[in-house]
Amino acid sequence: MSFHEEEVLGKAYDARLMRRLLGYLRPYRLWVAVALLALMADALLQLTPPYLVGIAIDRYISVKDLNGLRGIAALYLAVLVGAFSLEYAQTYMMQMMGQRIMFDMRMQIYRHLQRLDLAFYDRNPVGRLMTRVTTDVDVINDLFTSGVVAAFGDMFMLAGIMGRLLWMDWRLALITFSVLPLIVGVAQWFRRNVRDSYRKVRTWIARINAFLNEHINGMPTVQLFRREAFNFARFDDINARHRDANVDQIFYYAVFYPAIEFVSAIASALIIWYGGGFVLRGSLTLGSLVAFLLYSGRFFRPISDMSEKFNTLQAAMASSERIFQLLDTPVAIQSPNLEPRALSLEPRVPGREPRAPGHIVFDDVSFAYAAEPVLRNVSFDVRPGERVGIVGATGAGKSTLISLLLRFYDVTGGRILIDGIDSRRMDLRELRSLFGLVLQDVHLFSGTIAGNIRLGNEAIDDARVLQAARAVHADQFIEKLPGGYGAPVAERGATLSVGQKQLLSFARALAFDPRVLILDEATSSVDTETELLIRDALRVLMAGRTTLAIAHRLSTIQDMDKILVFHKGKLREAGSHQELLGLRGIYYKLFQLQYKAANSPVGANR
């Protein structure tokens, strides 16, 4: 898929992105506040154990007061339980909030995807869009789960420890703090180098992925040209560079942890040297000294944690940038009276609405796709109830007509009128609800048979589903399925035959009872029996409906009211079958071609 693109890392921290990300917290303000309070309270509690040990030494052990010790122990236990509850509450809330935000974000992305126009889908492979909805959102979630948020929380602890140390003995505290610049220096050094080496590692792993992807796909070619050894050498090279980049990176990690420990040891040494001096002079108690030593151990954790979580932060920034980019893609095609209605949840009740007659006029319509002209100055009209066939060679622009009619794309010249109104000025839902689309490549959704007939429209009840299926003879095979109408449909309808899928899509169109039927006739061959069923079903489907049919087999449209012949983006001939044959033009030749082809098993695909 898109291995290259996904590996690119941007800035680790971008204030603009961060502000926008924080915006997602707004609905959970209360949660945030409570979680932060719990975080702080927890940090305070975590501070107490060393203090308690100090007190135990100074006040009770030195005077052999066992009762006092019991009290300290009880307090210690209380602190443990309190810290446990607070920490649990805090992490749970943080992570749940993360989950909720991910949920919101996914819904937002998905809603936006449902509004973006078809041209957007042409530009963006489905795999990439899926990555936005799934992986990219998960990467942002890592901010919550992998403890970046918690690491921010540790900063409270850091502040708490500093305050505590200053309060116990400000001189020794300042001496202890003197190692802080060192630790910040080490952390900076680590962060800078790890970022660079992490980038190198990512680059090489992306190269490995790309190489594998390409060479697994092209393996037959590799083998045909006996390139195995040569390619192995190339793979070996990339693989070795990846290893070396990793080994470079290990160096920084290997230095980092001992370095932090060493700085921490410097702090301990300073505490013993100076603090010991204070104890000897009697200006510091032994217990306080021990507490100091214990605190200094916890002092460095937040800083080293932050450095370690840096990559997560960076990845999250890169993902959020990609997500925001998607969300910021403007919706090119929408209803003129704007949003809420276009996506109103009100299901349309088929057949119960006042119906527009559905008079379609193409008025000097031109369409260019990526500066490539596809249709040129096409004008025709389809009267209510009329049956129109559309024929032409591949690339003549037949399918584009349908896409324009349904406003999957907007015309680049001229206009399309529905009952006298420019289709661009109509509500999208209303416009599309006029049509029933039957595509040659039937798209089925996983779910049940009935679900695939009514799609998501709850207004189509079981009786109607049954009726529609029966009318197009789909009931015969459906009833034989285990589970009948409730039978599960596997991914993309893998278990159904082409003909069965075709009949299902007829039932779907009929259930929606559209004013205008649009057929993109299937090219794939089915057995004769199914073929007869399909033909009969088509008759039922077209009865009393305006029909626009793209035909690949001329036999299906011979008795249509009107046939439009397209050639290289232009409407070249129009009229009835007999009229067109009489012209001895393109249609005539097409007809002859088809007639011949019908007798030849070989040319079926040409």
């Binding site: 393996m219 045909l224 040209f225 040409r606």
Partner: protein
């Protein structure tokens, strides 16, 4: 008796025996050194309560620094050596994995999805490395630290040790239990994620249907349900993960509490000193991380083994197409540095009553024909008639049954693959180009040509009529063709593939519908030039166009895996069969295109 998967790891690990041994030596030294620290604290504190000179304090401070420096150095070496070795291990294993993929036949790649194979070469490999590197390292570290710290604690106060340690095994057990539960829940969560991805994919691929039927809101609801399902499974995971660290701190805290409570009593009763009490607490703190690591390590091991088995599934697949034991003049897969101009092959081809099936599905039945060396055979037939499968059998992309396909009278099954494929220039139906320069793609079969005889590349391009296009490219033959050649047009790709096949100077040339994306005029040109090249070669041309096949020495028509017509162009026209129909139809088409 099958060798266990663990055993199969040993050869890979033994390559880094030295590194692992050295790393483990460092690993033993550093915990031993750090174990001295609490002792230093002990003496410092006890001395302080008695009153000592500052010189003594300086000594203790210095000792702490020295231990941190030396211990840190060994810790640095440990990580550097062991983890680097694990990267080396990963590198070796990845190479072997790829080398094995290179030996697997076409059918394997048709049966297994690229994504699946890739995930084994990346995610699974990474899990195996985690097992061999970090997991083993932390495991050893845990063991050493535990042994050292525990014995020193026992030396300090055996009773106190036993009591304070009660919660510690619980830590490891808890990590293990949590780990397993988290892992299981995580898998369920992954399933939900996969289900959600499926919803997204289905809806986005069916975007036209969704829009046409105005089902956007229904689709949003469907997604919401899936998203909510994912959320609720995540909630379980969150509950587990959220409880994990607090539970750890709690258990470790209880241990510290026991040490504080009982330890201070023992100080009061004079059994131990304050210094020993502090040292004891310090040892306890040192044990905390190894205990947590231990549970974590067992999880890593479990995942690593599962991934290793998944990798072995691929690596244990015997290639079904390979040099047979009896293959003549066996020659190792060599870097082909020179075009095999001295190829002993003359190029007479015979298919003898060939019947071929993929499993149950018969694709070709009883096909027989012979092509004398230097002649041209054309194959015509509809989609699914078996044309491509037929030519794929020649270079053994699939293995034909023994005794059915012969070159110069030798069964192709008895010819070493390298020799066989060197003799065949193959232009597939959908040419696969690699993201490399055009020159590299043309010289694909003979990489050395690029340096040694660049003129051969342009000569081949000329035959394929690609030279004029190349003149318009910004960097000529050094133009990058982009992933899978996306920067080239369909026709350019096909012509590049023809050049690629011609440049190896093969005895046999196979064109599998290789000119379909090229216009008729260019096609004529290419054919005219190819004819010169083909004169001394045996050629097989698959095409739908009569114009392409009419001049062949023989033409066969395939239908449903059977050879239905066989003869020269004129003969077949006269016969008035399938071929003749096709011919008439194409005449009409030409007329139509002209209108």
């Amino acid at each position: 008796m099958k060798v266990t998967p663990v055993r199969r790891l040993l050869p890979y690990m033994s390559r880094y025996r030295r590194e692992f041994l050295l790393g483990f030596a460092c690993l033993v030294i550093s915990p031993a050194l750090f174990a001295v620290v609490p002792r230093v604290l002990q003496f410092a504190i006890d001395d302080l309560s008695r009153g000592v000179t500052r010189a003594k304090l300086a000594e203790y401070s210095g000792l702490l620094l020295l231990i941190a420096a030396v211990g840190g150095y060994f810790r640095y070496q440990m990580r550097r050596i062991i983890i680097s070795a694990s990267r080396g291990f990963e590198y070796d294993l990845r190479n072997d994995f790829f080398a094995h993929l290179e030996r697997l036949p076409l059918a394997y790649f048709q049966a297994n999805r690229t994504g699946d194979l890739m995930s084994r070469a990346t995610n699974d490999l990474s899990a195996v490395r985690m097992m061999v590197g970090p997991a083993v390292m932390y495991l050893a570290n845990t063991v050493v630290t535990a042994v050292v710290s525990l014995s020193l604690m026992f030396a300090l106060d055996p009773r106190l040790t036993l009591i304070a340690l009660i919660p510690l095994p619980l830590v490891s057990i808890a990590v293990r239990l949590f780990g397993t539960a988290i892992h299981k829940t995580f898998e369920q969560v992954q399933e939900r994620l996969a289900a959600m991805s499926a919803v997204v994919q289905e809806s986005l691929t069916g975007v036209r249907v969704v829009r046409a039927y105005g089902q956007e809101s229904a689709e949003i609801e469907r997604f919401r349900a899936s998203n909510e399902d994912y959320l609720s499974h995540n909630r379980r995971l969150t509950r587990l993960q959220g409880a994990f660290f607090p539970t750890m701190s709690m258990l470790l805290g209880v241990s510290a509490l026991l040490a504080l409570w009982l330890g201070s009593r023992r100080v009061v009763s004079g059994r131990i000193t304050v210094g020993q009490f502090v040292a004891f607490n310090a040892y306890l703190a040192q044990l905390a991380w190894p205990m947590i690591a231990f549970g974590w390590v067992t999880n890593l091991m479990e995942r690593g083994m599962a991934s290793w088995k998944r990798m072995l599934e691929v690596m244990d697949t015997e290639p079904s197409v390979k040099d047979e034991p009896g293959a003549l003049s066996p020659e190792p897969l060599a870097l082909s540095l020179a075009p095999l101009t001295q190829s002993p092959t003359r190029g007479a081809i015979e298919f003898r009553d060939l019947t071929f099936a993929f499993g149950e599905q018969v694709v070709l039945s009883h096909v027989s024909f012979a092509i004398p060396a230097g002649e041209t055979l054309a194959i015509v037939g509809g989609t699914g008639s078996g044309k491509t499968t037929l030519v794929n059998l020649l270079p053994r992309l699939h293995n034909p049954p023994r005794g059915t396909v012969f070159i110069d009278g030798r069964d192709v099954r008895d010819i070493p693959l390298a020799e066989l494929r060197a003799a065949i220039g193959f232009v597939p139906q959908e040419p696969f180009l690699f993201s490399d320069t055009l020159a590299d793609n043309i010289a694909f079969g003979v990489p050395a040509l690029k340096v040694r005889r660049p003129l051969a590349i342009s000569a081949a391009a000329e035959i394929a009529q690609l030279d004029k296009d190349v003149a318009d490219f910004p960097n000529g033959y050094d133009t990058m063709v982009g992933e899978r050649g996306i920067t080239l047009s369909g026709g350019q790709k096909q012509r590049a593939a023809i050049a690629r096949a011609v440049v190896i100077d093969p005895r046999i040339l196979v064109l599998d519908d290789a000119l379909s994306a090229v216009d008729t005029y260019t096609e004529e040109e290419i054919l005219a030039r190819l004819r010169g090249v083909m004169r001394e070669r045996t050629s097989i041309i698959i095409s739908h166009r009569i114009s392409t096949v009419r001049d062949a020495d023989q033409i066969i028509v395939l239908d449903n895996g059977r050879l239905v017509e066989h003869g020269k162009h004129q003969e077949l026209i006269v016969r008035g069969g399938v071929y003749a129909e096709l011919y008439k139809k194409q005449l009409l088409e030409e007329e139509l295109a002209a209108s």
